[in-house]
């Protein structure tokens, strides 16, 4: 095995050297006191925290913190959403719509789903079918395809397109189920339409993210390899988030990295989203036995939970953030602005036949 050589070693090494050298040259070497300051400060903080927690007032602070994050005060059921709109969720128990008053409707045994641009219809997939439904669960049309996944719907009220993955390829079909065509090889990552005019979709292929103009039939941008696990556009369509647990990147329309965030070795990210109407990211970072939700730019902590937090979904308007928390079988709604408020809802898997993925929170009706 010592004699083994992997394919394309030389080319791969030179490509990587360019990237690694650029990172090395832009780093800022630190001096000795700064190099040792973090462990010293961390040690002092740990000692202070231990001393504080062991004291009677310290225990009281910990107790009130625990109460404040809502773990003990979670509603026993999801009685209502804290903001307007309707939430679409999918999972083992099928696809559901949750209304603002807490009422729920199961659309059927679909494994992925997406709202139409106006929120009047839902695209969903079964084992071998792409389906368009109304919010009551009535089927409008179906398209038989092998293992379709990840529908994404875009367009105007009169002219829409659905992108989805099937048979290892990205497909695009009109909103009435006609004119389906395969675009090219795609990995099993949800494609995302760029907001705004034109029909431009970002999808993952060969370990890269590709931005493709469906009408013009040309690739507009291709990121370096990075095995994306999730893609997302900012609301103005100017920035593309390429999410990976070990390092996220944000690209502008010319393919330049405008933001990168790499978790340190003992941590990884579970999810990241753009806050609506902004270029600000909100990130879930898992470290050891706990997870933090924080804003990317200033590191402001929005929520901390034990175990693994999984997903972030903003309400329409962006005032509330849904944090899904499978470890606690809860959903946590965090009011992002002031005053800070946290609302928990328990027994989530019992209400949806399994712990679901929150797809999106749509359209303020």
């Amino acid at each position: 095995m010592k004699r083994f050589r992997a394919p394309n070693e030389h080319q791969a090494r030179e490509r990587s050297w360019e990237v690694v050298r650029a990172a090395y040259e832009t780093r800022e070497p630190v001096t000795w006191p700064r190099r040792h300051a973090r462990p010293l400060i961390a040690g002092a903080l740990v000692a202070a925290a231990v001393a504080a927690v062991l004291s009677t007032p310290g225990r009281s602070v910990v107790h009130s913190l625990r109460k404040a994050v809502g773990v003990e005060n979670a509603q026993t059921e999801l009685f209502s959403l804290p903001a307007r709109g309707r939430l679409l969720v999918s999972g083992k128990g099928g696809t559901w719509i949750v209304n603002a008053d807490g009422s729920r409707r199961r659309l059927g045994a679909y494994r992925d789903a997406a709202w139409s641009p106006s929120g009047r219809f839902v695209a969903a997939v079964k084992r071998s079918e792409l389906v368009a439904l109304d919010p009551k669960g009535n089927v409008r049309w179906t398209l038989p395809r092998r293992s379709p996944r990840f529908p994404a719907w875009t367009g105007t009220p009169t002219d829409t397109r659905i992108a989805y993955i099937a048979g290892g390829r990205l497909h695009v079909v009109a909103g009435d189920g006609t004119g389906d065509r395969a675009i090219g090889p795609a990995a099993r990552v949800a494609p995302v339409w760029r907001p705004g005019p034109g029909r431009v979709v970002a999808y993952a292929t060969h370990g890269k993210a590709v931005v493709y103009d469906v009408d013009g039939g040309r690739i507009l941008m291709r990121t370096p390899p990075g095995l994306p696990q999730k893609l997302a556009w900012s609301d103005d369509g100017k920035l593309l988030l390429v999410f990976r647990p070990y390092g996220l990147r944000v690209y502008d329309s010319r393919g330049r990295v405008v933001l990168q965030d790499d978790p340190s070795d003992a941590t990884h990210d579970a999810d990241a989203v753009f806050a609506p109407g902004t270029h600000r990211l909100v990130i879930i970072r898992i470290h050891g036995l706990a997870s933090d939700v924080f804003t990317g730019r200033n590191g402001r902590l929005l929520y901390r939970g034990s175990g693994a937090l999984r997903q972030l979904v903003f309400s329409p308007g962006g005032r509330w953030l849904l944090v899904t928390w499978p470890t606690a079988n809860q959903w946590v709604f965090v009011r992002v602005g002031r005053p800070r408020q946290i609302v928990g809802a328990a027994r989530i898997s019992g209400q949806f036949g399994g712990y679901p993925r929150a797809v999106s929170w749509c359209c303020g009706r």
């Binding site: 095995m1 010592k2 004699r3 083994f4 050589r5 992997a6 394919p7 394309n8 070693e9 791969a12 090494r13 490509r15 990587s16 050297w17 990237v19 690694v20 050298r21 990172a23 090395y24 040259e25 780093r27 070497p29 630190v30 190099r35 973090r38 293992s147 048979g167 290892g168 390829r169 090889p185 795609a186 990995a187 099993r188 990552v189 292929t205 060969h206 370990g207 390899p225 990075g226 095995l227 647990p245 070990y246 390092g247 790499d262 340190s264 070795d265």
Partner: protein, 169 residues
Amino acid sequence: MAASGRDERAWVRRAQAGSVSEFEALFRAHWGPAYRAAYLVVRDASAAEDIAQEAFLSAVRTLDRFDRRRPFGPWLHRIVVNRAIDWARARALRPEAEAVDTPAPERPEHDEELLRELDRLSPEHRAVIVLRYLLEYTPGEIAELLELPRGTVNSRLRRGLDHLKERLE
């Protein structure tokens, strides 16, 4: 390129001080083994390149805090192998992506049969075999690298080798 421990410590020290050429020496000495180890675990050249590159980027980020008394290789290999195991596990959950994203090797100059059989092992078993027989760590060192009990490393090695022997005989 083989480097003595003294060379390596000097490269790290000078790289910490900002020398690109010393950092390049460190990179070139360790890139090959890191890339090969990742490739043998994930069997996907793009993913292996990405994993090895990420490990070096991680090295750049933590270079200033790196303890020069410790060897660089094991630290790098720990990151590479753990990420490769994570990637291989994730790929097992999305086989369709595998079919699309795996380019065929251009130059199969190695023992394809051995690689094919290695591929049948779980990522965890592949990783210990790669650490033992490609990177030549002792079982004790592998246990430390992967934070596993020594007995687990020995049993994974034994089971992996038994499988390979049985299939290749």
